[in-house]
Symmetry: C2
Subunit: 551 residues, 2 copies
């Protein structure tokens, strides 16, 4: 039996586009003499479709795509993810299902049992869990169909769940496992995914074919990395990350498999590639081509500009250099140098005239008040307004350059440097950005200079340059101390006592946790964040604003 | 048996504050010779605590409050909501529980079975559903404990669920039902809640005591309206809306009850009262006193100012009048008149100097480009920056004045008129705001003038006044047509074909749905919206940004 995996970059709600991709893949699979082609979870509509699932019309269109795929299933089995209606009145209206189409018929359908409802996932909001588990007989083989999370409770050892779907199927003696996934990227996930696939295969002693989605869907990025695992637990193949792929495998070769085709998994490279795809797909799926951002001479905007140029092409990236009266000369020089290295268009607009106009307009109200964070914020908002004006006039999307450290502690101006359609670095801590820039500068780029990002941008102390001599460390602990603490609090959900027990200084813990918590109101209005860690701001982390806890 | 219901305004994560309120209530109940006092769902920590539940320390503190309440339970039963740990490894870590404390012991604990996971609710994200249902014997009575949603699947007729918790308990022959709720307000909800309570009571022929939370928690507002229902289905008592209340009832009197103490439920009055409480608690729970907003002379900002003055006192509300070069004279006059009627402080700051400074700064970039929405947005953002500057300098929270019609179709400027800590009218359609202003003007206010909002503000055609002669209807269908269509799409989740079948014009449907969907990126960064309908923007409506559906 020959099995094709089709790892696709789908687009939420783009039924025509998704169907066209699948129809083309079916044709290719047929030309490769495949018996069976397997698409990702919820492939007809894309993932995560969120509350679109509450619209009857949306479900209709999903069913229409299934009907169209069924029509081309003559001579080839097509396994594809789609919502399906729950015919029983009690329980949620929908199932998250895998359809098995063949010769113009639906020869089997398996619903998902384990519905992730944590972090960014809301599946129990829409779907009823499966309670029946039936293998499907196809061309002399018995197939265990499973959907994403269904393989993540091996032998019921995952504390989140109370059932192991494949255990339920094993009495029926399947010959292979198919898994349809929409399993989002984080920099540690590919390794864990392989581990889980292996544990399943070693438990059941049959091969697994695992198809994942690929590409960005606003904040959530899918990395692909679809898997074929031989019964001996070796990775017969791992598809590339961050790009579409179609391959056809011979089941007998996989069963006999004796090779380990895993890809290298370097954290910083993975983050880099994910962010490029995240930008590219955000623009492509919204129908935009051109980006703008503010280039300060600092490291965050420099890295954002590099990633944007890679994602969209330097000809589609413009930057504004917006020095304040407190900016150092080298800031403009460094920014200009980067723009030239990248070959992107830049303009210089000093913000003092607008700042002065605001100060004059508010002179009466502000009489006798000292210069404080208000004036810093006015400057940041003048910059935001300039960038949005360019964006509005020329049809750019504004890229936000805030990093995760700043976003955590609220070190940023709402409606100022927090403006933007997508926060490129909002899930990357400052210390990780230093690693990222090192990686970027190690790559050949442009005319092959030593590094595209100027050294001065990397070595100077971080500063918002909104008052004389300002440095980030005036308001914040050094990032080498701050970031590990944030990581433990945000990613690992350690409480204050656990953090202190880990060796963090008690007053620092109190201060930092308070900063994180009282700034929830800012994050509520932040741009969506490209998710690269296991716990990003946004839908994956839902916090009360008026909460009075550790604040 | 004497039963006290304590309807409390709790504060998420404010363990000390919530405990102090409950301890005081226990004292009062004792002084009223109560045998039993009943608090709301998850009262120890407030609702919705969201991902705070993922922190061990948070659960610890909940347990600490339970321990403290247990200590004062000598001579009085205390029924209180709290998360509790699931001792079984498989399944979610927590239960949403009702503790029954008495004489220093926990004499019973009932977990919640029906976990709302729709709209604003995410309970299955945190909690394992109950599978055991045991009544509790107390002072010769047998009590069926239930938590909020548990009574919303009477006889298993709610399609969302597959179990009816009270049906499970009835073989044990309970004498009464206690329900601990945190059931959020919407303008239709109190009526439905009474209906559900009656249906339960009539099915089981025993009385129900139902305690609800009250007060605002950012976007979500709780109305209280706790209920005592006699076995004949009559409402023995309904506690007031939007305020704390403690009352002690004699069980025998309730059983014999022959009275119907329901409150009037006028939609517009309820919305009015909810918004006042929503503002008040947002400020109080964040520790702020003073509000600022922009007063345009239009109806939305006028209504917001009135509500703010009621919520915070006129002495705590300031407004900025920020005429543009395109503002009509009467706009400033109308705004000034309202400020004087309300007795709130106002300042006038013309925006032209800042607007001119931006146009000059961008003259080179914008050379040869016509005046368009860019210039309108610059003006809106100058206003946003002025308001935020005042807010930063003097410690106000900026109130957002966007209405639901605008927010739906994206008729507003991100980082401009969309600025603000909380969107007061973001769940109120424009046509409802006209009803609201009529109600407001019917109330005695200030020196008892005919109406606090100037007639001219109400009667003139809505306009953003950002270009000469601009009217909302230049870009939008008339609100009398737009609002019913939005209601059907947003609240009722009708798809395009259903809307057309209802009589909406096909091209209008297409145009409006597209406007709603392509503006998801703006709502993503909008201020939290005070929720007064059954489907508000925010956590209750989760939509993809890059979705290509009806767009």
């Amino acid at each position: 039996m020959r099995i094709t995996l089709s790892q696709l970059n789908l687009h939420i709600g783009n039924f025509e586009g998704n169907l066209a991709k699948m129809l083309a893949a079916v044709e290719t699979a047929k030309s490769q003499k495949a018996d069976l082609i397997c698409f990702p979870e919820l492939a007809v509509c894309g993932y995560p479709a969120r509350d679109f699932f509450e619209f009857d019309d949306f479900i209709h269109r999903c069913q229409h795509s299934i009907n169209e795929l069924r029509k081309v299933s003559h001579g080839i089995g097509i396994v594809v993810g789609s919502p399906s209606r729950n015919p029983v009145a009690a329980g949620k209206d929908l199932y998250n299902s895998a359809y098995f189409l063949y010769n113009g018929e639906t020869i089997g359908i398996q619903h998902k049992a384990l519905l992730p409802t944590y972090d960014i996932f809301d599946e129990y909001r829409y779907f009823e869990p499966a309670t029946e588990f039936k293998t499907i007989d196809f061309k002399g083989k018995r197939i265990a169909l499973s959907i994403c999370e269904d393989i993540w409770n091996v032998g019921n050892e995952n504390p989140l769940y109370t059932i192991c779907p494949l255990d339920e199927m094993m009495p029926q003696k399947p010959d292979l496992i198919l898994n349809l996934s929409a399993s989002p990227f984080n920099y540690a996930h590919a390794q864990i995914r392989i581990q889980i696939a292996k544990v399943n295969v070693l438990r059941y002693k049959i091969p697994m074919f695992y198809t994942n989605q690929v590409g960005g869907q606003t904040d959530v990025i899918f990395d692909g990395g679809s898997l074929v695992v031989s019964p001996n637990g070796m990775v017969f193949d791992e598809m590339p990350y961050f790009e579409e792929c179609l391959k056809t495998y011979d089941l007998e070769e996989v069963v006999a498999g004796d090779r380990n085709h895993e890809q290298p998994k370097d954290k910083i490279q993975l983050i880099h590639d994910a962010l490029v795809v995240g930008i590219r797909d955000y623009f492509q799926k919204l129908g935009f081509k051109k980006a703008i951002l503010g280039l300060s001479g600092g490291i965050d905007s420099a890295v954002t500009a590099v990633l944007a140029a890679k994602a969209l092409g330097p000809e589609n990236v413009s930057v504004l250099l917006m020095p304040s009266q407190f900016s150092s000369d080298h800031s403009v020089d460094d920014a200009r140098q980067l723009a030239e290295n990248l070959g992107i268009q830049y303009d210089i607009v000093a913000i003092k005239p607008m700042f002065d106009a605001f100060e004059t307009a508010l002179a009466q109200q502000f009489a006798g008040q000292p210069f404080n964070v208000t004036e810093e914020n006015i400057q940041a908002r003048v910059r935001g307004t300039l960038l949005m004006a360019m964006s509005n006039k020329f049809g750019h999307i504004l890229l936000n350059t805030t990093n995760k450290s700043e976003m955590s502690v609220g070190y940023g101006t709402l409606y100022g440097d927090m403006c933007g359609g997508i926060a490129v670095l909002g899930d990357v801590y400052k210390t990780e950005i230093y690693e990222l820039v090192k990686y970027i500068n190690s790559l050949p780029m442009g005319e092959g200079r030593g590094g595209v990002v100027p050294q001065n941008t990397i070595t100077k102390p971080p500063s918002a340059e909104l008052r004389p001599g300002q440095k980030d460390t005036d308001s914040l602990p050094p990032y080498e101390i701050l970031d590990p603490l944030l990581f433990q609090y945000i990613e690992c959900r350690k409480g204050p006592n656990e953090l202190i027990a880990m060796g963090f200084e008690a007053s620092l813990v109190k201060r930092v946790l308070r900063m994180v918590n009282i700034n929830e109101f800012k994050r509520e209005q932040a741009a969506p964040v490209l998710r690269v860690s296991a716990k990003a701001f946004g839908m994956g982390r839902r916090m009360p604003i008026v909460g009075k806890y550790l604040s």
